[in-house]
Symmetry: C2
């Protein structure tokens, strides 16, 4: 049955759709019970966060992951960047008529794996089917609800002069991995996406260094864009030292070849941390002691000025403004 | 500037995207503040529900609504069907390159209007752009978090023998409205979608009749499919009387002409209610006293048997099984 394909009729709320949901989705993501109510239940109290993302990555399978893993990790990481542990995820699928059911099964399997690693469940979902040529195989929108532990107060607006900036590992892997697969490029060593759920990493970090001020996962637009957002939201000036930013050799070489900048290339398993100087050491240690943060580094800090800009100290010792880029670097990277 | 169009570069996380978000989305849905963190904050305690839906309706504008109104109402109604008032919504957009910005503005404006009516905000969102021919103008996925008041216990599995079944108004309007616009059909009287946010209607209902057992909004697959879901989840037999189900004359005539069945046609502003016999009268009165329930009717009840089936008593007095339909009635209706 491995060449079964998605039909338009899989999307119209009838019997075929119910079968698809039970055989593909519920068997992997759910409890094995037939689909029930349209809203799933949650209980609790306190501070919650809510986030959503659409995923349209092209191609849907790439070295290190696929659109399913990406959709779950992206949402978990947005919750983690708010200092929150994931409570529940939702997933809604837009399927192109003709999609191989086996490809869909693989994607949903990846979602289940990533969710399990982060100890969270996809508790509600939806599926629509559109005719051939009205989508590109599969698009997924995931949303997540997370709980913020007492005492945790992180925000993009929280950076303060004197804070130290950490990055949890080498930057640019995801963007280059997707691009190289999309364009059929071959490099000496395969570039693999860093796509990973960072709930555990952030939990370890916040336990070791409760005075973290900012967490942000530098996805679309990369490290440079995320730092610009932080500088602007916090009303501070950020300075980073180019020579301290970890970049894999393979990624640097591929960027060189393609005329790209790893600082603007997407990451899907990295976290930027702004932390008070007094806790910077223990924060870095906590990151490095976790599998997803082994190559973490301190890359700069927050200055006294408040220009809302990011300054890059280049390898030559000069300074330049590291802008948000204007359009058109890498579309459909997530 | 009314012929401005969405560019691929609007979707890549850079400056153009930030401008689009501020000028189109934040100005209508948000506080006017620049976009901040990737997760939005909520506070509270108790029982919550979480739901998600993807919207791919074709065409995106139809009599009585558009994809934006639909996306917000659909999510509010899924929360309402769980007995919950909406706390927060999220929206993620997949835009096709070339979409008119003015069309996007109109869609987002409709979302803001529907959300305002239900006294809820879209607190987080995401936007992706795909190349021409990889989507159909705009797809929207909305998720919602709702709070369930103490004492409310509704579920698709809650129907009990003796319950009375109500429907909050005439069925089939939305499906026929979308289909007639899509196919360019002209009828004597225009058929208008019933698309509406039902948070207020359900609140009025639950205040008047706290012993409501089931609420369900009969969207894709229509009344027949939703009743089948309830019968199956609750393990009961449901009987409805065809002559009691309200159907507008214009909808009935169009269905006749097109060979469609209004019982399987989608609704986007109707609620099915199963309520104990003792509260059926007050429940019906509460529905009818609300603008969106003025034409509510009792259409049948739950029998002693437990076949998981729905029986239709026809106008001729005979009985037949009202099945979930198998595929292919009306694709892309929501």
């Amino acid at each position: 049955m491995s060449d079964d394909r998605v039909l338009l009729a899989h999307g119209d709320g009838g019997q075929l759709m119910a079968e698809l949901i039970e055989s593909v989705f519920m068997s992997r993501l759910g409890t094995g019970e037939p689909p029930g109510d349209d809203a799933a239940r949650l209980e609790g109290g306190g501070r919650f966060v809510f986030t959503t993302d659409a995923f349209v990555v092209d191609p849907i399978f790439f070295p290190g992951g696929d659109i399913g893993k990406l959709a779950v990790c992206g949402t978990i990481n947005d919750l983690a960047a708010a200092g929150a542990g994931p409570l529940a995820l939702s997933a809604s699928f837009i399927l192109e008529e003709g999609l191989l059911i086996s490809d869909l099964e693989r994607v949903v399997g990846s979602m289940a794996e990533a969710a399990e690693e982060a100890e969270v469940k996809v508790i509600c979902g939806d599926t629509k089917v559109v005719p051939r040529g009205r989508a590109d195989r599969v698009y997924i929108s995931t949303s997540g609800v997370g709980a913020v532990p007492d005492g945790v107060n992180v925000s993009g607006a929280g950076a303060r002069p004197g804070d130290v900036l950490l990055i949890s590992g080498p930057v640019g892997d995801h963007g280059l991995a997707v691009l190289s697969r999309r364009e059929g490029l071959e490099f000496d060593s395969e570039i693999v996406s860093d796509c990973a759920p960072l709930a555990g990493l952030v939990q370890a970090l916040l336990t070791a260094a409760p005075d973290v001020h900012v967490l942000r996962d530098p996805t679309r637009g990369g490290l440079a864009t995320a730092l610009n957002e932080i500088a602007r939201q916090s009303g501070v000036t950020i300075e980073i030292d180019e020579s301290l930013v970890p970049v894999r050799e393979s990624v640097a070489a591929a960027c060189e070849l393609l005329g790209l900048d790893p600082l603007y290339s997407a990451n899907e398993g990295k976290m930027i941390v702004a932390v008070s100087e007094s806790e910077a050491e223990s924060a870095l240690r906590a990151l490095r002691s976790h599998g997803y943060g082994a190559e973490a580094a301190a890359v700069g800090g927050v200055l006294e000025e408040s220009t809302g800009q990011v300054l890059l100290k280049t390898a030559l010792g000069t300074h330049r403004i590291l802008d948000r880029h204007v359009g058109d670097q890498l579309p459909r990277i997530c």
